[in-house]
Structures are given as C-alpha cells and as structure tokens.
Symmetry: C2
Subunit: 454 residues, 2 copies
C-alpha cells in the first residue's frame, strides 16, 4: 500500500500527502460514479422489465410520438395555419390529452371532448347573445353569473354515478369551453368563428388520435378485458392444482407451505375490480373488432369477475386456514377417515381445476364450453356430496357444521387481532394521545358481563 502511494507520488511529481489526498478524492469519485452507474443500470433494467412485461407499452409510446408529430405538421402547412391561426394549438393539446392506451379509452375521451365542446359552444354563444341584449353595463356581470351557475351545476352533475362513469371528461370539457368562450367574448368579437375554429381543430386532433390508435398496433380494451377474465380463471385453477399436489397427494408433506406460489396466486384476482371496471367501461365504446361483435355482452364479464373474486375470497379463507393448520400441528385423524377424506378432497380439487382450465381454454378460442367442463364440475360436486354422506355415515356430520363455523370464527378472531395490532402501530407512529381517564375497572366488568351472559 505505502509503496503504491509513494510510487504514485513519484509519478505525479508531488509530495506524499498531496498524492494521498488526490488518491482519496479519486477513490471517492470512482465510488460515486460506480454508485451512479449502478443506479442507472438498475433503472435501465427496470425500464427493460416494464417493456418486456407488455411490449405494447413501447408501441403506445411510439404511437403518441407519431400522432403528435403528425399534428404538428399542421403548422408547416401554411394555408391551414393561416385559416386557423393560434387555434392550431388546440389540435396539439387534444392529441396529448385524448391519446389513451386502449382504443376504447381514446374513443371515449375523443367523443366526450368533441361533444362537450360542441354543446358548450352552442350554449355559450346563446348566453353571450342574451347578455348582449341586456346592455353594456349588465353584460359582463350577467356572463359572470352564467359562468358561476353553469360550472357549479355541471360540477355537481359529475357526482351522479352514471355521469361519473362515462361522461366525466366530457363535463370537464363542457365547463372549460363554456368558460373560455363566455370569458373571451369580452374582447374577441368574432365569437362564432372562434367556437368554430376550436371545434374543427379538436376534430382534427381526435381524428389523428383515432387513426393512430386504430391503425397502428391497436390495443382493444375489450380484448384486454377478455384476457383478464381468462387469466383469472387460470389463476383459480392454479390454486386448485397446487392444493391437490401439495396437500392431498399421497406423499404430500405440507412442508414450507407458506412459500408456495399457489397460495399467493389468487391475490391478484381479489384486486382486479378496478382494472376490470375501467376496461369494461372502455370496451363499451369500441366498435366491433376481431371476434368481438357489435353489442358484445361486456357487463357479463363484470358478473364473471365478481364471481371469480368471491371464489378468490373463499380461497383466501381456505389458504389462511391451511397455513395455520400446518403452523400448529397436523391432526392425526383416524387413518381410514383421513384417507377417505383426502381422496374426496383430491377429486374435488382436480375436477374443479380441470373444469376451470377447460373454461379458460374455451374462452380463449371463444367456443361454447365443451361438455367435459360440465362433466368435471358435476364430478367435483358429486365428490363433495359423497364426502358429506361419508362424513354423515362416520357419525361426524352432526358436529361438523358446528366445528366449521367455530373454526372460521376463530380464524376471524385472529384477523381481528392483527387489526388491533395494526391500529396500535398506527397510534404509535402517528403519536396518538394517551387517554388515561378511561376506567379500566368498568371494562373489566364489561368483559366479565359478556362472559357471564353468554
């Protein structure tokens, strides 16, 4: 080390102390550069992963660039520019705001924008004429009153669920256009020409967006919704398959069960509602495309999604029960009973999984679910019924239901306890005040009373 330093000192032709300091600086710089480089590489990897996860995202980004470049060409073309003037920027603005990931999204926003502008333009011109008739003094006051009333009413209409779901953006644009036209009328005389310009530039912008979004790698919300439903079915099937292989097979060990992926797979199904609702909303705006005809029953996908989420809910309950079971001790039931129950459980899981896989395959090809799906489902139901009969024969049924309710309830108690702990953490982190005037004795009595009453 020291020799190295001396050498570098000699080479640089300066004293040892200075070279040491310089070497340290260099080292620090190198490590900082290395860290920065590491961050850059990490970020690039992240971007790569996002792109690989769904290459359509790259296509979408390029499409937005393309649409914007196309619309900015308007500025080159002198005759067009002379005709529209500064209004050309509305076309650029429209492209940026309207261009959405899916065709349905773009169409919904584009139509909302066009209709909102048109309606607001007409009403604003009317309002302006009314205000003009009332004289010079009253005109600005009246227009301000109109702006206040209409924007308040329109804003309130956005709280109506149906409007919120489908026309939220249109109402925003309505308020926007109305205010702009009403306000600008104080100065600009050629009101109608302005409204006309604004509307035609918006139509050009929306048109550019639609052409780009429909003709260059289109992403259909309907297709994505369809794929989401298929994915959900596959995830549910995966849970059944995992259950079968990890819990009910002859040599199932229940070992390290918590880390198994099949016990996590249903979770994304539980959280699919928001995506599903927005895709369904957009899909309703889309024209027929591919295998999706006009008036495709999109709302049926929401019903299917709700059922899938209910199923995932039950899976969560079962998964958490299975995990607590293996965490404590695995019960050694009577061997003959255990083997019977296991066989029945295995059949239920396998048949359900097969049925769900058949359904997802049928959905993928958009074919009527083949009879085997129903046959598997019936076989699963039959296994369930047989098991129930079996358990009845085994003189267990009379206690079984009680036991199930009691077990589920004690599972709920565990969950409630976790909630208590979480609120405790929140109270600590947010420094909630300590409330000492609570009489503990009274509450002890309360607890004793509950225990006595029941």
């Amino acid at each position: 080390m020291e020799i190295d330093e001396m050498e570098s000192g000699v080479v640089n032709g300066s004293g040892g102390g200075g070279s040491f300091r310089r070497a340290r600086c260099w080292e620090l710089l190198c490590s900082a550069a290395g860290m920065l480089w590491g961050k850059v590489v990490g970020f690039a990897r992240k971007l790569g992963r996002i792109a690989r996860d769904d290459p359509r995202r790259v296509a979408h980004s390029i499409k937005v660039g393309l649409a914007l470049t196309l619309v900015s060409v308007l500025y080159y073309v002198r005759p067009l520019f002379n005709n529209w003037g500064v209004s050309t920027m509305w076309a650029v603005l429209t492209v940026v705001v309207v261009m959405e990931y899916t065709v349905g999204g773009t169409l919904s926003k584009g139509l909302n924008r066009a209709c909102g502008t048109l309606a607001a333009g007409f009403i604003a011109v009317g309002a302006h004429k009314v205000a003009y008739l009332c004289g010079d003094k009253a005109e600005p006051v009246l227009l301000a009153v109109f702006v206040f009333l209409l924007s308040s009413a329109a804003t309130f209409s956005r709280f109506i669920p149906e409007v919120k779901a489908r026309y939220d953006y249109g109402v925003t644009i309505f308020i926007l256009t109305f205010s702009l036209v009403a306000v600008s009328s104080y100065r600009v005389d050629e009101l109608i020409r302005l409204a006309h310009q604004r509307f035609s530039t918006i139509v050009v912008g929306v048109g550019t967006c639609l052409c780009t979004t429909v003709f260059v790698f289109p992403v259909w919300a309907g297709e994505d919704l369809h794929r989401l439903a298929i994915g959900n079915l596959n995830k549910l099937a995966e849970f059944f398959e995992g259950l079968e292989s990890e819990c009910f097979r002859e040599n199932a060990t229940f070992e390290n069960l918590e880390a198994k992926p099949f016990l996590q797979v249903y979770k994304s199904v539980l959280n699919s509602k928001a995506t599903e609702d927005s895709l369904c909303n957009f899909a309703k705006w889309e024209p027929c495309h591919g295998k999706f005809k006009f008036r495709h029953p999109w709302s049926q996908y929401q019903k299917l999604g709700a059922l899938s989420r209910q199923c995932a809910s039950s899976m969560e309950a079962l998964a958490s029960y299975v995990i607590t079971l293996t965490r404590t001790e695995y019960p050694e039931a009577r061997p003959e009973l255990r083997s019977e129950v296991r066989t029945a459980c295995r059949q239920m899981s396998l048949h359900s999984a097969k049925a769900l896989r058949e359904l997802s395959a049928a959905m993928r090809t958009m074919a009527v679910p083949p009879s085997p799906a129903n046959a598997h489902m019936s076989a699963a139901a039959k296994a369930a019924k047989d098991l129930r009969d079996e358990l009845e024969d085994a003189d267990l049924a009379q206690a079984m239901h009680v036991a199930v309710v009691a077990s589920l309830l004690s599972d709920l108690v565990t969950k409630a306890k976790q909630i208590t702990e979480s609120v405790g953490t929140l109270a600590r982190l947010a420094r909630f005040v300590k409330n000492n005037d609570h009489e503990n004795n009274a509450d002890d009595k309360d607890i004793a009373a509950i225990d006595a009453v029941s």
Copy 2:
C-alpha cells in the same frame, strides 16, 4: 263516459268524432307530460339524495363556480389583460382542470402542472436554440424529431408505477407544454415571453384553486382516509354483532338470514382498495392540518386497509357457509356440545365486536387504543382457544380440521360451479361457436382416470 264526451263536444262546438280524437290526444299529452314529470321528479330526488349523502359535494360545486368566476375577473382588469393577452385563458383552463374534490388532489395536480410546465418550458427553449443553430432548413425537421423523441420517452415513463402513481398528470403537462412551445416556435418569435406568460398564468390559476379549496370548506383527503378506516372497522364490528344476535343467541332462529343487512355490510370493505389508494396518494401531498401532523404515517392506513379486507374476505367465506347451512338443514348436534360451542362462538363474536368498536372510537378521537380493546381481543382469543381445547376433549379435534378443510373446499366447488354457469351464460349471450370436434369419450376417460388415481 259517453255523456262527458258529448258534453265536451257540445262545449267545443264540434262533432263527436273530432272531440273524441281531441280528447284522446289530450289524454296522450297528459300521460306523456305526467311521465316526463315523473322522470323529472325522480331525477330531482336522485340529485337530492346525492347532495344529502355528502353535502360537501354541493360545497365543492359552488367552490368550482367561485374559482372560475374569480379567475374570469382577470379579463375585466385591463392592465393585467394587456400584459398577458390571450394567455389569460390558460388561467381559466388551469382552474377547470386542476380543481379537485380534495385539497391533496388539487395540490398534487397544481404542483404537477406548474412543475411540468416549467421543466418543459426550459427544455423546449433549449431545443429551439439547438435547432436554430442548425440552420433554416434543418430547424423544423429537428424540432419534429425532438417532439417525437421526447413525447415517446415521456409517455413510456408513465408506465413506471411510481411515476404513474404520483406524477402522471405532470408528465402529460410536460408533453403538452413541450409540444406547444416547440411547435409554436415556427411562427412566434417571442418564445421566452410566451413561456413566461404561460407559466405565470398557470401559477395564477393554481393559486386561485388553492385559495378556494383551502379556505372555503376544505375537504382533506387525509381526513377522508382516516374516516374510511374508521368506517371499515365499524362495518367489521357490525358483522360480528349481527352474527352474535342472529346466530349464536339463545333464541336465534336463523330465519330469513340472507336478507339480514349484516351479511352484506362487509362487501363495501372488500371494494375499498381503489378509493383508499387514491386518498392515500392525495393525503401525502397535503400540509399538516387539524390533528394530522407533518409526516403522518399515511401508508399505515393502507396496511390497516389490507388487513380489514382480508378480514372481510374471511367474513364472506363464513357468511356464504352460514347461508348454505340454513338453506339445507340445520344440524342437530349433541345438545350439550351445541350449547358449549354456541357460548364460545357468542363470546368470540361479542368480544371481537367490542374490541373493533373500541378501536374505531379510539381512531375517531385519535387516542391510543385503550386497554379494554386489547382485553376484549385477548378474551376473544381465549374463548377461541378454550373452544379448541373443549372440542379436543370432546374427541372431535382429530376430525375437525379435516372436516373444516373438506367443507371449505366443497364451498369452493359451489363457487366454481357458479363460475361455470356464468361462462355458459357469456357463451350464450356472445354467441360463442360450438366446437363439436372435442372427443367426449376421451374426457370421460380423463374423469374416470382422476377418480381411479385418487
């Protein structure tokens, strides 16, 4: 009837046939008007209900009107208008687009808009200078290339989850401003003055929004998030209370259980994720207010929400089990066992409900959860443990776990069956093709194979 018609005929001084026709017309008109009136009344009632559900909605609508009227006053003030020219409309535009329901939402959008505009303005001016240096011919081409590259890159960055969550709007505004400034530079010479104007009008718009939203009936996202968490706790408590009174009390009849509200109450908890995420995102932008200090642990609310939803999931499983139970037959377990289990279940439900109510009360006053909450939770856990021991004594434990898993699984089979039916309905409504080349025999063999193997 006839006399009436004749009379009206006489009064009108025309023939019976004409009066009859007129009377019919009148009737039709009346009924149409009545129907219209009914619709109007229904719509008005709906609006009234929306307003009553949350009176802050009315306040928000008025606030938007107020902010817009305030900003349109800018047009009256001649010195201001002369200085900014047409750019004043950016202030109006900003108010319409930035004004959100909550303070956090407005702040997040406003800051995003201001920062996006500022960053894009600087870069656009730089790009313009670079393009200018490359000569007259290359300038428009280079600018178009810049627009394409930057808008594509910015659009892709919106797919990064962190950007999507907090800066989505800022990126949109970045693309918008960059394109506008870059494009307008073809014609307008005073580029920097334009960028400056645009930025200052946006600041005025954002300032107007913030003043209105903070000082006139402010709606804080943080407060709403806090209230949502409290509401969720109360709903979970309500389920436990309902369970206790309807299922485990001495005189519980299990009658008409499906219609009971407590079996529906947890459903809104299950769907609270989207609202919670957006409120949490907005709350992070808000300054300290009321009881919420700077750096309040907002993400803890998301953790609490996730636990609440898990609990609601388990409730769904229990609810669907209890309903199927009552639909088929209520098992007559051994009386002494039944009474013991019922007592234990009653204690678990009551204690959990009390604990959750204590927690929600503590959250409301922002006090550390009082010791009774923990005491109740411990009592519930003790009841659960006692029950488990009890059942072990009753020589049931060995079969109980198996029975629980089997029951939950057969519940899952029921759910999977519903999914099958739902896909069938979808196939019918969407007219999926019938696929007859599937060999049914093979699948029968498949089913037989599963049954044989297990």
